[in-house]
Every structure is written in structure tokens, then in C-alpha cells.
Symmetry: none
Subunit: 414 residues, 2 copies
């Protein structure tokens, strides 16, 4: 079964908002095993909407539209689709009552134009909207169906969950289950080379790698009829990929590296402290983004100046003089000072040159030292990172997290 998503709204074409509805609906359709081959966005324009709808109905079984169900003149989705599919709009008295109630509850006067929202195409299935005035509807036409939903995600999502998901599930009878393998430390093309034969020979499950922000995700997706069958199909493929990529695979369910480290700290009763120079607190920021991080995170020192490195972490001024702030020696003194000061069972120190300024021939932009310890084991790594300031800071954090992960797991550093 195939579906496509058709969003209606000039605000999308002006770049005022992103089409997150398409993402949400696509994720749900993937779960249902419904193939999505196209997303389209058109403005509040009847002719372009009609043209796009006709094409969509021609090539897909299900067309899901979002937006354009509001009360104003701009909102023309329902009218245009009804006309295209030769359906009259009929007044639903019960919906009109709901709309009146909605306004009464909010102590606002219902305007005349809202009456329009109580009209739906004849012979359509109503999709109730508990969070707004615009109900949605499903128009069936032989084997095909058009499903209309409002644009605001807060209204659309509950309507999808409560009505549309079940409607579609009954229609398909098949589900898609994915494993998301997250990998750090091996590039996308290298991964592809190592998995080439698997990727080429598989059709179910499918294997698809993609890269973003210094990490690679390999999605393994099985099309099946239930979760047991899914596990049976996915396990051997996932195991084989892990065998080939080794400990660089840090998650099977799409977790971020910081969440994986958070989990390891928690499981092992460990507490983390960080000492950051070039990353400027972003590593602490990523860890503390996780709800409940206070259980595993003790504190951070963002020792941006040399003075702070000396005062807060006890780095020796001689070391700074002799080797510079960006050096293995300084990184190790930072992490040792952090350990002494905090007594935290896990610590990491980062010092480097994030650029764009500050680089020299000897110490170019991208040079970063990361020192880390778990209990009594201390290590230090020299990194030569590429990219802009943001990318270097991001990659330095990922390396630091991966070092901690490997230390806790007792596996080899890369």
C-alpha cells in the first residue's frame, strides 16, 4: 500500500515553519508498513492543490492532507478536494454544536465564519478534533482514500493517533519494524564498503546508512506481520552488522551517544564531572539536556581562561608556559585536577582550538586533546578535527563521550 502526504499552506512555502507534520505522519506510516514515495507542499491556492491532488490520487492509494481546514477564506482544502472528488459539502449539526461548545469553554464568541467548519463532504468518515474547531474527514473512493487533517500539530497528532492510525492499520494488516544502529568513529563511506554485500543482497530487511553531525546511522527495517516475526528477521542482520563494525556500534535503537553514556553511568553507579575549554560547556549542556541527569552528573568547570585552569583545576602555570593550554600535558593536568577536586568516579577534560582564529602551523585549528578517566584508569587522546567551529566542538564532544563509553565498558579505545 502506498500513501503520499500533501501539506497545504503558504506559510510553509515562505519558510515560516517546517513541515514537521509530514515527518510525524511518515513515521507513523512507516510503522504501519505503508510506503510513502512523495511529500508535496502547495500554498493556499485551489488550482495548484487540485492539480497536485489529482496526481497524488493517480499514483498512490492513500493521500493524507494537512492544513487549510481553518475558518478563513484562505482555507480551501476541504472545498477544493470535495469539488475534485465530486462530493457536496453537508452540514453536520453535531459538529456545529461541538464548535459552539469549544468557543463557550474558552469564553470566546463564535464568529459566523466558523460555521463553515461544520460542513463536511457527503459520505465521509468524520475524524473528531478534541483540541480545535476543525474536524478532519476521510473520503473513500473505491480502493483509494483521501484523509484530511488540520495543520496545527497539536490538533493533527491526536486525531492521527486516535482515529487515522486504526483506520489505516485495518486497511494494511502489515507492519514495518526498524532497528537504528548508531555508529561513531567509522565514516559513512567506510561503513558502506564494509556492508556493501549485505546492502546489495537484502530486500527484506532493508539496510540503509546515513550520516549526520559526525555520526552514522544504519537503519535495518523488516516488513512483517507482527513483532515476533520482526525480531526473527532483524536479529541475524543486526548481529552481522555489529560483527563487522565492532564496538563502534554504540546503540541499536537510535539513542544519542550522550544518552548511551548516561545509561552506562546510571547502571554502574558512576558520576561524571567535566572540565571543558574549547567546548565551552557544550558537553555538560548535552548531558544535562537529559531529564534525570542530576543522578549521574556532578559538575563542570568551563575553564576558558588559563587563570581558571590554574585556579579551578590546579594546572601548573609552568605546564601552560612550557606546553601551552592546548597540549597533552595540560589536558592530563586538567583531568587529574578535576578528579582530585570533585572525587567524581568519571571525568573528562577537553582542550583544543575550535577556530576560526587561534591556530598556528604547529597547533592548527582542529587540534584537540581529550583526557578521560574512569576510576583509576586515565587516558589521553590527540584529535585532529576538521570543519568549522561548531563541527569541531561537536566532534570533540562526541570523541569525549565515546572515550568514556569505551572506558566504562572496558573495551579498546579507537
Amino acid at each position: 500500500m502506498t500513501a503520499e502526504i500533501l501539506a497545504v499552506g503558504t506559510e510553509l512555502l515562505m519558510g515560516q515553519i517546517a513541515n514537521t507534520n509530514a515527518q510525524y505522519i511518515s513515521g507513523k506510516l512507516a510503522e504501519l508498513g505503508i510506503n510513502v514515495y512523495f511529500h508535496t507542499v502547495v500554498g493556499d491556492n485551489a488550482a495548484r492543490l487540485e492539480e497536485t491532488l489529482k496526481r497524488a490520487l493517480n499514483r498512490s492509494d492513500i493521500v493524507i492532507t494537512t492544513g487549510g481546514l481553518g475558518p478563513t477564506k484562505d482555507d480551501l482544502t476541504k472545498e477544493t478536494i470535495s469539488k475534485t472528488m465530486n462530493r457536496n459539502l453537508v452540514l453536520h449539526e453535531d459538529i456545529l454544536e461541538d464548535i459552539k461548545d469549544f468557543f463557550a469553554k474558552k469564553h470566546r464568541a463564535m464568529t459566523e465564519i466558523n460555521i463553515k467548519q461544520a460542513y463536511l463532504p457527503e459520505n465521509s468518515i468524520v475524524i473528531p478534533n478534541p483540541n480545535g474547531t476543525a474536524p478532519g474527514c476521510i473520503i473513500e473512493d473505491g480502493e483509494k482514500a483521501v484523509i484530511m487533517l488540520p495543520g496545527p500539530p497539536k490538533e493533527m497528532q491526536p486525531m492521527f493517533e486516535e482515529t487515522v492510525f486504526n483506520y489505516l492499520k485495518q486497511k494494511t494488516g502489515v507492519i514495518l519494524v526498524s532497528k537504528m544502529l548508531k555508529i561513531f568513529g567509522i565514516g559513512e563511506s567506510d561503513i558502506e564498503t564494509r556492508l556493501m554485500d549485505l546492502i546489495d543482497s537484502q530486500s527484506n530487511p532493508t539496510i540503509a546508512p546515513y550520516a549526520s553531525q559526525g555520526e552514522v546511522t544504519v537503519r535495518v527495517t523488516a516488513r512483517c506481520i507482527n513483532n515476533d516475526e520482526a525480531s526473527e528477521m532483524l536479529s541475524p542482520v543486526v548481529d552481522e552488522i555489529k560483527r563487522r563494525l565492532g564496538a563502534a556500534v554504540y546503540s541499536e535503537d537510535g539513542q544519542t551517544l550522550e544518552k548511551v553514556v548516561f545509561g552506562l553511568l546510571k547502571e554502574n553507579g558512576l558520576v561524571l564531572a567535566t572540565a571543558e575549554s574549547c567546548t565551552g560547556g557544550t558537553l555538560a549542556g548535552r548531558i544535562t539536556d537529559i531529564p534525570g541527569s542530576s543522578e549521574v552528573f556532578e559538575r563542570a568547570y568551563v575553564t576558558y581562561s588559563n587563570r581558571a585552569k590554574v585556579e579551578d583545576l590546579g594546572v601548573s602555570p609552568d605546564t601552560l608556559d612550557k606546553y601551552g593550554a592546548v597540549s597533552r600535558e595540560t589536558a592530563l593536568e586538567m583531568v587529574n585536577g578535576l578528579k582530585q577536586k570533585t572525587g567524581a568516579s568519571v571525568g573528562v577534560a577537553i582542550t583544543g582550538i575550535a577556530g576560526p582564529g587561534g591556530g598556528t602551523e604547529e597547533k592548527p585549528v582542529g587540534l584537540v586533546f581529550v583526557a578521560a578517566y574512569v576510576k583509576d584508569k586515565v587516558i589521553c587522546k590527540k584529535l585532529e578535527l576538521a570543519g568549522n567551529r561548531e563541527r569541531i566542538r561537536n566532534d570533540a564532544c562526541l570523541h569525549a563521550l565515546d572515550m568514556i563509553r569505551r572506558l566504562i565498558l572496558g573495551i579498546e579505545q579507537q
Copy 2:
């Protein structure tokens, strides 16, 4: 002139990511006065890409594609478009060198499949990619043009800014010049009400407010033929808006609040230190994201645990016992300790409950205290913030930055 945006990537159709590239590019095209009537997303499928490209070229002047320029077999945008437009792919030796350099810098082996990225359609304009291995390109065909960009926003956006924007600007002849008024502390609907008559009566310049992440931007855009004309058109409108919104307008050129504070610190020879609890280093992270921040940023303490608050900032255990970590008293002791310890001329301390857990009836999620000083003037503010963890942490940072801005400027706090 009309354009449409064609994103290529199965990960979009699977709902793994949202098509934020279309939003970004649409915003830029709006600035250029180029009309966008369609966004389309297709998967990594040559036939559907070809079909969609042909239709797009038929109805629009410019087609901008994102994604599918990677090294793997899935990545087929360049090949498919070249074939559709009857262009051969030719090897660019200089691009190959760049790719080799990119891998050398990362100390990773360049794999065979990356060579593919050094091939571009004949007679195309190269769009350099300083942050990745996939260059983009522009294929001109009579009055029409196809512009290919890679999918990762971190690569795509700089390429758009540095190359594509100017290319399109020259093509249109007309320029759009915008002032981006950034406002903190007044809500979007309030701003809209205060500016309603201006918004309704203007057609050139246009005035458009939009909200994101706790701040509001009012974009004032003049369509004109040169910069002098633009200034003349924009100045009176910008002045009137500033008169109505007052000191809540912190920038006229779209700068972030942290960049504005960075500039103020620098101009006034001031140095900042932060003490963060619930924001967990994200304020320090935002400041240090700015190149050159070491001139104005001294250090940060992320005192996540009570012990760290006592040890690093000298907060009294009695205060923590009596008033709790989230209290005016603790915030003030944090900032005073920060001042004593660092001697920094400007300091800010943040303590609060970011949620989702940890709230009580008396101290609900969203309760945050921010204390700040500039030289001898110390202030403290109680905030009651709404939204999820990320939003609360973000808003706490913005309030802290705005307090510092107002302290340095010697203007009233809101």
C-alpha cells in the same frame, strides 16, 4: 521568478528527519523575492526523481534540490539530474584533491566510492562545500537552472549563503533588503497588536513578525534596486517600530542575544563568568560558540550538585537547607561567590527546575532564579517559565542574557 524545492532522501519519507532544508531555503528565497509554489520530497529512487524534476523544470524557473550527493549507491541525485538534462559527468581534479585533503585532515582513509563526489555535470557552476566532501553545482539550461545542494544542513546552509544566494540575487536584478528586529520580552501576539496598523498599511516595505524559541523577530523588507534606496525606505519604519517596542528590541540585524551581549562586553572591556545549575553549561556553550569569545569569557561553573555549589561558589549549606537550591537566596549566593572567586566584571548565576521531574506544588517545574551583576550592581529575578525541559533551559538563558544586556546598557530591567 519562481522556484521550487525538491528534497531527495528516503529518510525524509520514513519520517526520520523533517525537511528543515526546505524551510531554510524558502526563507532565503522569500528574501530574494522569488516565489515558491511547491516543495516536493522524493526518495532515493531515480525514476521518481526524474519524473518530479521534469515536472518542476516545466513549471518553475529554478529548481533547488537537496540531498543525494553522498558517496554511496543510494545517492543518485547528481547522476539522475545529469542524465535527465543530457549532461555528462566529468572529473574535477581540484575537487578530488579537496576530498583527499578532507580525509587526510581527519586521518581517515578515503575510500574508492568517494571519488564519485569529484564528478560534476559538464558546464556546471561548482558550489564549494567547506564542511564536507560533496560539492554542489548549478546547471543552467536557457533561462532555467537546477541547483544541487547536499542534504546535511551544516553543509548546505553555508553553501547557500556563500554561493547560491549571490547567484540568485544577480539573476533577479531586484534586491530585497531586510532589517531583522530581534525582540525579547514581548510576546508575538502583543507585538502584532502594537504594530497592527503598520502591518496592515504597508506593502513595501513589508513587516512580518514571527516567533521562535522564546524570541520574536520582526522582519522589515524593502524591495528595491540598491542599498541606498533600501535605507531610505527602511529607516522610518524601523524607527517607528523601535519607538513602539522600546528597549525590548535588542538587535536590528538579526543578531542573537548572545552576540549582542558579546559585543557589549567587548566594547566595554568587560569579562563574563557564569554559574549554572539547571541550564547545565548551555549558557556558557552559547557564548563560547562565538568565535573570539575568549576575549570576553573567563569561565563557568556548572554546579549541578549541591556539593559543587558549596565547594565552588561558597554557597552556605544553611542557605541550601533553609531555602533550597532553587531560591533567590541561593542564586544570590551563587553569583556573589562567582564574583569573589573570579573577579570577573560581569557575572550571572542560574538555578531552577527544568523538569520534567523535580517539581513540587511550592516550587513547580519552570521556577528559575537568575542573579546577575555588572561591577557593583547586583540584581535577582524570579522567573516562572512554561514549556518542556529544552524550552525552559533556553528561556532561562535568554533571560540571563537580557538581564546582562540591560545592566551593561544601564536601562531598566523588564
